[in-house]
Amino acid sequence: MSAAPAGLVWRLTRQAVRALWAVVFVVPLAVALVLALAQATDASAWRALLADPQTLPAWRLSAGTAVGASLSALLMAMVITTHLHGSRWWPRVSSALAPMLALPHAAFAIGFALLLMPSGLVARALALATGWIDPPDWRSVNDPQGLVLMVMLALKELPFLLWNLLALLARPELSAQLQRHVLLAGTLGYRAPALWWRVLWPMLLPRLVWPLLAVLAYSLSVVDVALVIGPLSPPTLAALAWQSLLDGDRASQALGAVQVVVLAATLIALVALAALVGALWRRAALRTATAGHRPTAARRLDGSSFARLLSLAVALVYALVALMLLLAASAGPWPFPALLPTSWDALAALRAALWPTLAFSAALAASASVLALVLAIGWLEVTPPRADAALTPVLLAPLVVPPLLLLIGLYQGALWLRLDGSVWGLLWVHVVVVLPYAFIVLAPAWRGYDARFETTALALGRSRLAFWWRVKWPMQRAPIAAALSVGFAVALAQYLPTLFVGAGRFATVTTEAVTLSAGGQRQSAVVYALWQALLPLLGFALAAVVRHPRPGRPPFTP
């Protein structure tokens, strides 16, 4: 028996949700991209780009760090998964991911810089052994080759890739099958790692295209992290474009738009290259798989120990970064080579001057995440499965379009709607950025929901609204809480939209942290970076409480 026929209220709800989506997301997104590309049609801007001696080295840096970081993150994720999936280490890996993901990129970059800089914790620890009195003459942060930026991006993207892998491998249809594939391959003479590299990765990687694309796009066009830890002269192309766009001069802004278009073209070229390399690799893996050779004991490296060491090393870096943020935020004077501050200023992170920025950041992020959640649930409730599948790439577009390109368009849109510099414009642009993340978190739970619950509720004479309110949404409290906390973290970490669409009128913990850090005031920046890390953690902690109801209490009471 099918569900009850749609009534007037239901039809109106569907139309309203679609209209809201069109007004808030789809039309602005399309217009934004057209406007951004239109800005880049200025021939003189292209001539300026070609004449600028910084263009080529900056482009090389961007492409090099993006490819290096993405490949390193992917390789590390593959090594860890290959050797630890199914072992007693795998649950530990999965439980370590949440705090790593919750740490925003900018906060991580600031903490990482504080670790590695000449007067950082690493140099202070080495000074214990070497007897250094002054900080060493290192270019360990803002190095001209961009190596530190690349390593930092690889470390920060690794948990994201592992999280996606974890979600993929935990799917019921895949999880049991994988275990039996490993057993079956064992009986055919192959150890699990051989099966992973020859068979399972070629099978699984095509299912990770979206996260991989997101990592590549992010690494190529990231600005805030590049300002904190990346090369300075020349900077990456994204940072160069950002400098051009911030300039009030129209010619500079047109140059910035052109630089962003070059970044987008680079992304397309890299994706095409990655597709080609991926196809060749799959073919080579298949050839190896069908050659029949089984690795002998003598040729086996102890991959499992290496994977465990790698996981521990990554966890240690995150722990040190968090420790560094805490130490630096509560340190008084800290002369080199003292390993710990000589005096403490424990209340620095609670100074009254911080509170307005903190409150505004939290309110903006909370509002954006709630609005994005409402829109995402609305979409998932009213969109027929075929339209949902067909339009999913549009919804996920902001994840893979270089943020600067999107931002130029959104800014033009905000100008046109006279929303630039207003809190409403700021909120709107945050919702656009947060929506795909809320959608990614919610979609699997909504798409996998057993439709018979609805049929049963309607057959029992309850309205669709009563079913949603009393049955479905309480059952979905875990993904709802996750979407809210992820949305909150994403909104809070936005740097470019806040500065650009907010016209510099609004300060958030992220804009303050990045601006101060890029200006060389790392000690001051670190207090904001700490809050930038703590606020999402609070969000995730709250979500964990909501998603696990108290013992003895039913999860929902219809």
Binding site: L183, G186, T187, R191, M203, A289, T290, A291, G292
Partner: protein, 220 residues
């Protein structure tokens, strides 16, 4: 090359499931282990394959040609496995699935072996097809061919017919028994369906091997 099960026992913490299983399986012979759901049939096979997971615990010896299988890692036991699902790798063609199992050697002879196995199974010309384009019965046959091409000494069959429809099940049983006999490998089948038992095959009812404690616990 006989398979011997010596005093096998299987238990969960504080709950014995099977005790005192003794059996000998000659090459080309199929021993059927029958029992109700949850009695530990599949776990016994997992133990023999070397993949038994805690909290299940097994004791006893599995010998092949007098050699203790316990001493060998899974990949050296030369055991073939057949499950309810065919578990063919979905991104590999039928031939690539078979070549994955075929022992190393010159490419042409390995390909010829795979092709001839397909032809004998009535699947000539199917080598370039992907698994999802085959019917359930065809996939099941390819799965058995893959297990046999690895030249196993023992084949463990874990309710391999239970997902097939009735007509296909009869055909598949005949195909499997014939192939196992001609390959002269020892085989262990677990099932709860009497119809699955091969003609002239030996049967052990695991229900009769249940320790008294477990039987008592069930009655309580």
């Amino acid at each position: 090359m006989a398979l011997e099960l010596v005093d096998l026992a299987l238990s969960l913490p504080q709950r014995p499931l099977i005790a005192g299983l003794q059996a000998r399986v000659e090459p080309g012979e199929v021993l059927t282990l029958m029992g109700e759901s949850g009695c530990g049939k599949s776990s016994l096979l997992a133990y023999m394959a070397g993949s038994l997971q805690p909290p299940l615990h097994a004791t006893g010896t599995v010998r092949l040609d007098g050699r203790d299988l316990d001493a060998l890692p899974i990949e050296q036991r030369r055991i073939g496995l057949l499950f309810q699902d065919d578990l063919l790798f979905p991104h590999m063609t039928v031939q690539q699935n078979l070549l994955f199992a075929t022992p190393p050697g010159p490419r042409t002879s390995r390909t010829a072996r795979a092709d001839s196995a397909l032809a004998e199974a009535g699947l000539a010309g199917f080598g370039d097809r992907l698994p999802h384009t085959l019917s359930g019965g065809q996939r099941a046959r390819v799965s058995l061919l893959r297990a046999l091409l690895a030249e196993p000494r023992v084949v463990l069959l874990d309710e391999p017919f239970s997902r097939l429809d009735a007509a296909l099940r009869a055909q598949m049983r005949e195909f499997v028994w014939q192939r196992l006999k001609s390959a002269q490998v020892c085989a262990l089948l677990v099932t709860h369906d009497v119809a699955d038992v091969p003609p002239d095959g030996k049967v052990i009812d695991l229900g009769r091997l249940r320790p008294l404690a477990a039987a008592g616990a069930d009655r309580a």
